[in-house]
Amino acid sequence: MKGRKRKGGSIAEQILDPAILEKVALWLDDAGVNSVEIETEDGRLVRIVAGAGVSTDDVASNPDISVARNRAKPVKAPIAGHFLPVHPARDREEATVGAAVVADEIIGFVKIGPLVMPLRVEEAGRLEGCGIEPGALVGYGDTVFLIEPAQ
């Protein structure tokens, strides 16, 4: 079941407003729905998923690449926003596929409004892949990278 309504204002502000976020999430839980889509005045979609968080646009285009890869550990988006594999002040990726990564290493970013959030490795290993296109919108908790844990 999906609900839909119009709402104005800055998308970043709306989806970051914790009061709204909590209210909507509670409402979703109460109503027993999985997600709600909100269309902003500039025509963009915000999807709030019960028990997960928020994502915007491209609702169907973020495949869950962790499926069928059992051992690989996901690096998930800490917040909804645009995925940046390269820091905007740099000209190279923080980590390339195949490279060894260590725990707490920052291997990419999610841009949310004027801010940048880190995509961090939890456990040392090898960067196996990235399922998101540069600049694409990701939702909270979406898997962005997969890490093959070290032996």
Binding site: D17, E105, I112, L115, V116, Y140
Partner: protein, 332 residues
């Protein structure tokens, strides 16, 4: 407290500057890149103008004597915390005993280390900026040395996500308002000043040629090398007040741009004045790099100023919202 473990010369405590005393011959001082200082402060929950460390000689190493929040903005110095790489324009929580290290940047000139609460030094004439020439302000009016210990003022609670977070660099966020040239030459917008007309036909070359920032350049001013630009006939000016950004043309015909530690008075003919909102970019220009002046207007400057205010306002508003949103999500 923080302790300087390793530093080159000329790294100082700076805030947004000291105002109201130019009529007594006191330079404003202040960060060369005021935008990087402001962003760093906003990321750690400070007001834009708190005192921070301006680092322009490297390597620079610092140890934290207590848990705090730090932001590193401005030049990308391949910063490391206990050896682990940090992204540029980044803020994070650090623990007592951890060491942050900044290496020589490849592109820009100056990095800023901002701390939640701001650097604790006694304000002099309303500012914590170091006046090296006057020998006051900042840390005893001098530049930092190894083993220096500086206090950090008390700060309110500052929630930082694990791993930290950053700001979009102004070059990216404001790319539409700070145009870049195709060949990498820095474009600096300026408005003709008092004696512009006295350079006659030569003045055109001020805009058209590429200038190189000579090695005789520092926080006081940049000397630019290029094809000399001469007055049509000599002129004798009386001593008058000047401000950072003034482009003077001494008899040699090679331009001088006065910067943060600019003399308060001058007597050289003034060919142009850099628009205030472009000074931070000039403050990040390195010795040996090239720049071109682009003729601008007050209307253009105002539009850029508004864009910068919006950018800073967005950061100011979004930082606390981000912390709350993360807290809300972790509760669910």
């Amino acid at each position: 407290m923080i302790e300087v473990l390793q530093t080159g010369p000329l790294n100082t405590v700076q805030d947004l500057g000291r105002f109201g005393f130019r009529n007594a011959g006191v330079t404003s001082s202040g960060a060369m890149d005021r935008l990087a200082l402001a962003v760093g402060n906003l990321l750690v929950g400070n007001d834009e103008g708190e005192a921070a460390l301006e680092v322009q000689t490297f390597p620079f190493r610092l140890r934290f004597d207590r848990d705090t929040t730090v932001a590193i903005t401005g030049a990308d110095c391949d910063a490391r915390l206990d050896g682990r790489r940090l992204p540029p324009w980044w803020a994070l929580a650090v623990s007592a005993g951890q060491v942050v290290e900044l290496a020589t940047p490849r592109h820009s000139a100056r990095a800023y280390l901002s701390f939640a609460g701001g650097i604790e030094v006694e304000p002099v004439m309303g500012s914590r900026s170091t006046s090296l020439r006057g020998g006051f302000g900042g840390l005893d009016g001098r530049f930092l040395a190894a083993n220096d210990r500086l206090g950090v003022r008390p700060a309110g609670a500052c929630v930082v996500p694990p791993g930290g977070f950053g700001a979009m660099p102004p070059e990216t966020a404001l790319a539409d308002h700070f145009p870049a040239s195709e060949d990498g030459t820095l474009l600096v917008r300026a408005i003709p000043a008092g004696e512009y007309a006295l350079f006659g036909g030569e003045a055109e070359r001020f805009w058209s040629q590429t200038w190189k920032i000579s090695s005789q350049s520092d926080r006081t001013g940049y000397r630019l090398s290029g094809e000399p630009i001469k007055l049509v006939s000599p002129v004798e000016l009386r001593s008058h007040g000047v401000v950072p950004g003034v482009v003077q043309m001494p008899p040699s015909g090679e331009a001088i741009v006065q910067m943060s530690d600019a003399n308060t008075a001058g007597g050289y003919p003034k060919i142009a004045g850099v628009i205030d909102i472009d000074l931070w970019r000039l403050g990040q220009a390195r010795i040996g790099s090239r720049l071109r002046f682009v003729r601008s207007s007050v209307a253009e400057a105002l539009a850029v100023e508004r864009a910068v205010e919006t950018y800073l306002g967005d950061i100011r508003r979004t930082v606390p919202m981000l912390a709350e949103a993360l807290a809300a999500m972790s509760r669910r």
